[in-house]
Homo-oligomer: 318 residues x 4
Amino acid sequence: MKHSIIMAFMGGQKDRFCTYFPNATPAEKIQAIGGIDGIDGVEIVYPFEIEDVVETGRLLKENGLGVAAVNANIKAGPQQQAGSSSVDDQAIRDDAVRIISEAMDIAAELGADKVTTCPLTDGYDYVLTADYVQSWENMVDSFRRAASHRDDINLYLEFKDQETRVNCFLNNTAKTICMIRDIGLPNVGVTLDIGHSLMAHESPAEGIALCHSSKVPYYIHTNDNNGRWDWDLIAGTYSLWRFLEVFVYLKKLGYDGWLTSDMSPIRLDRVSAFDQNLKFTQKAIELVDSLDIDELFNMMHQGQTLEILDLLRNKILR
Amino acid sequence: MKHSIIMAFMGGQKDRFCTYFPNATPAEKIQAIGGIDGIDGVEIVYPFEIEDVVETGRLLKENGLGVAAVNANIKAGPQQQAGSSSVDDQAIRDDAVRIISEAMDIAAELGADKVTTCPLTDGYDYVLTADYVQSWENMVDSFRRAASHRDDINLYLEFKDQETRVNCFLNNTAKTICMIRDIGLPNVGVTLDIGHSLMAHESPAEGIALCHSSKVPYYIHTNDNNGRWDWDLIAGTYSLWRFLEVFVYLKKLGYDGWLTSDMSPIRLDRVSAFDQNLKFTQKAIELVDSLDIDELFNMMHQGQTLEILDLLRNKILR
Amino acid sequence: MKHSIIMAFMGGQKDRFCTYFPNATPAEKIQAIGGIDGIDGVEIVYPFEIEDVVETGRLLKENGLGVAAVNANIKAGPQQQAGSSSVDDQAIRDDAVRIISEAMDIAAELGADKVTTCPLTDGYDYVLTADYVQSWENMVDSFRRAASHRDDINLYLEFKDQETRVNCFLNNTAKTICMIRDIGLPNVGVTLDIGHSLMAHESPAEGIALCHSSKVPYYIHTNDNNGRWDWDLIAGTYSLWRFLEVFVYLKKLGYDGWLTSDMSPIRLDRVSAFDQNLKFTQKAIELVDSLDIDELFNMMHQGQTLEILDLLRNKILR
Amino acid sequence: MKHSIIMAFMGGQKDRFCTYFPNATPAEKIQAIGGIDGIDGVEIVYPFEIEDVVETGRLLKENGLGVAAVNANIKAGPQQQAGSSSVDDQAIRDDAVRIISEAMDIAAELGADKVTTCPLTDGYDYVLTADYVQSWENMVDSFRRAASHRDDINLYLEFKDQETRVNCFLNNTAKTICMIRDIGLPNVGVTLDIGHSLMAHESPAEGIALCHSSKVPYYIHTNDNNGRWDWDLIAGTYSLWRFLEVFVYLKKLGYDGWLTSDMSPIRLDRVSAFDQNLKFTQKAIELVDSLDIDELFNMMHQGQTLEILDLLRNKILR
């Protein structure tokens, strides 16, 4: 597995009340991430972080970084704030499709195998103000058109149950799989952000297993939270056992893709914070490697719950 | 739409700390429910409430009650407490399949068109103690075998995200639809319990819409809660707008099935409590009938959020 | 009761992903709010919205607006992002005390009787990184010093359980009352934001009752949410019964203070959104006025739960 | 610190859907707990587990067990199901006071220093059906009368935010402290059940710190849950970092009382489950002992969040 960082977190951040860090150019972000030990690549946002793809490619290469995914942003434009992939307005939907399609071309040029997109403004704020049937149909149509742009690049849909809309339509793993089945194309998958999964009251590992059972490709964002909001905290600092479980399943199911940090370093030293996210991730991998996975699953099948807890306490804690 | 009551709530109830109401025989429950104005039928539990199906049928007829669904209980047996449809133990799974199959035969005899089952013990309590892939496969196999028993009776799966297991496998509408697609039979549907949907942080109406979009039949349980636990409260007393939204969608999508009370009357006078659940339900239907649904959806499509809120306040509140 | 609006919502807004509305000067905001029917005043932020208090006073008067409260912002400064009232750094704490004290003087000049402050950065993000005992002591000291500045102006503390910190120290009504008792001054009260109370899994009316029982003054912010995040939605659109309950208690306990809109109009027409928040609030007041409050409390004392639900359905819904 | 187990969990258990384990006599429970390594005592329920206090004392002594607390059950009687300490009915309140007072006498006879009580039926199920002001006054009166029975035995109040009522009045640490201050007696404290604290979205360690700052005695129940319901799971299996934080604060603040297992072993081998709860607790104590607590608090005061996370990962995980 290779480690990457969502580039945007190396620039200026904001929430409803404060702003954090100065803005930075894509070049500055790439250089800063290139200097972090153990990081193999980036997730880069299109269109905001890519003006000239050749120049971007050159900078990444110069800094020894690959591209885990191109993140097609279909939510931040003024016209997209009340929805983009789901709305009735054909022009807005076409624009979302265009952005994703261009991101797919750019992914190919940068040597990445996928685009990821997180339709956070596709949702609703008030009860009885959304046509769920039509919105679903619109999203299926938008993402089908986008994914059809080319079949050598995968499109991963990233679900989240709230933010920026009070209710996002694409809100958990299973619903994303329902959408992918309705889209009906083999190059559409799930971006499983561990924090989004926890916030949706899922077990992230169970989400991964469902993707596997459903024969849907998946891609992992690492972070953590308190189960209530997408705080993008350092991985493993709240939900340690759930985080370890993710790596047990990734190993069991043979995942060898990217692990991308979607951790927000506000109020922290950024480089050190990314380093901690990486170290917690590497520690989880090491700890899982120290377990006999076949034996663990054997114990599950025997219903040896207490024996497993005893084993975990002894093998994971000092 | 016809109104029914889950018969079990007319007998003895318990929670972790208290017991409520005396136990009652099925005959006593049927007679009591038969005396409630406006109730057209029951959801009856097999095997616990049906010893002699002919006698049961006679009693129901005598009391003017139809059967909304036979509820196949695959969770309460001593061997089912750690799972039934999902476990590796073939004998336990066979037993779950047998109970559901028998319930389907009984449904046919009683003139009902469906069996519903809620696999609440199919889940896990501790992280890293369940094989999600195998459990999923086991459940798909169990319910496929059960649904194959006969194709003239539908099998509805009722999801719930917690209780009695800390984590139930079948935990929201979308995951149930994923399971139904993996089962691959046309006579499998979703029992959408409004409270279970709310507890899973869904909009119940959005769940209904997803069933519709997925061409999966659905069946409705009415009740309410605080979004945290399946309290089985009187419908509309916490989530009024969400409850109204359900009836807007049921009308829009042409639902003409049963509305079954899954309301728990503990600490209340039972007959009056069922009456209140019915009256809140009827009120919701009336209020929705007073709206111009086509115009409402038209306003949604125009993005007239504030106009809708203004309309709802004027049309729903005195 | 008089109605006001938090002025800041008439200017530019942002969240983690988007920005909304252009920035506006305080004068522009005052003029815009002055044009909204039924609004009697504003909650104005110090220092950001007050440069010249005489000019501010003139503008307010010109637009027929009173001041519900001066909101002392002790969270947005770069040095305050990791805490202000709670931190060990004496200079930062002194600065928070200074801002509140100056806000009290300004409140007096503008004819307001109170300052409100919401210490949202006083908290922590990660487990085991905060000294709860020392932080509490620091907050008590800061707010005691601030409140001691003058005794003719009240200082109201506004609790919230998360945002911008993952965990805010002052997180519910009861804890705020504990803090007020430790401060030990009669001019300290609770700003009870209905949404913050709901998000903390309180009943807002119960919070109001606890303030009353504790002889602590309180001040009300109106809005609503889904119980999970401080969405600042239009009041009554999610938690209608809880919202009505607030007004039953305000009436019962004789509240005659301000009702301040803390509703965020992002993605909406602002003036119409504020109008809807006001109309839902006025409707709640009217509906409560249509009830016989003494009889309602009498029914509570008789344990007539079902009779109350029947009454509410008939008196509140059309 | 000494370890005990709530005796009731050695007998029959139930939830809404299933029953677990056969019933057992108090003598059988005491003998079974006496056989568990490392357990020093019990929390015993009055009146249900004590018929003859001399016999109970003899049995405990014979099995080498002390008494952490006598648990005064004021919730399970038929007349207590809609409230006991909070209700208007003087006879029901008197009965609650009587049970607690008798439990205090029994505690003294058994050599315990405290009674604990958890008023789980004092609450309400529906909005607008409870008089919060009167209920609070009633509870303060009931517990003041009970605590006044004798001043050599402490009365600890155990809060919980839901179950068996949808909303319990005494729902978090701070509110319990407010109640204790209104009671105004030095022998009233807080039973801080770690799971109840987590379910109330508190940090249990912060609750402990608030008791300390408020000069209120406290007593600890160990268990864990998913933050949504009082699952009474084995300690540390969900909220590991929060659990460790508890022991950091207990050490820092010099707690030397009992640690009582409030863990429910349903679906597990009971003796082994209690053993796992003990081992997770002992492991937490050992791990905290391996830390330099003074240095840790020093790092907190320096704002060294990332350094602390690095330290914790290295010192706690293998």
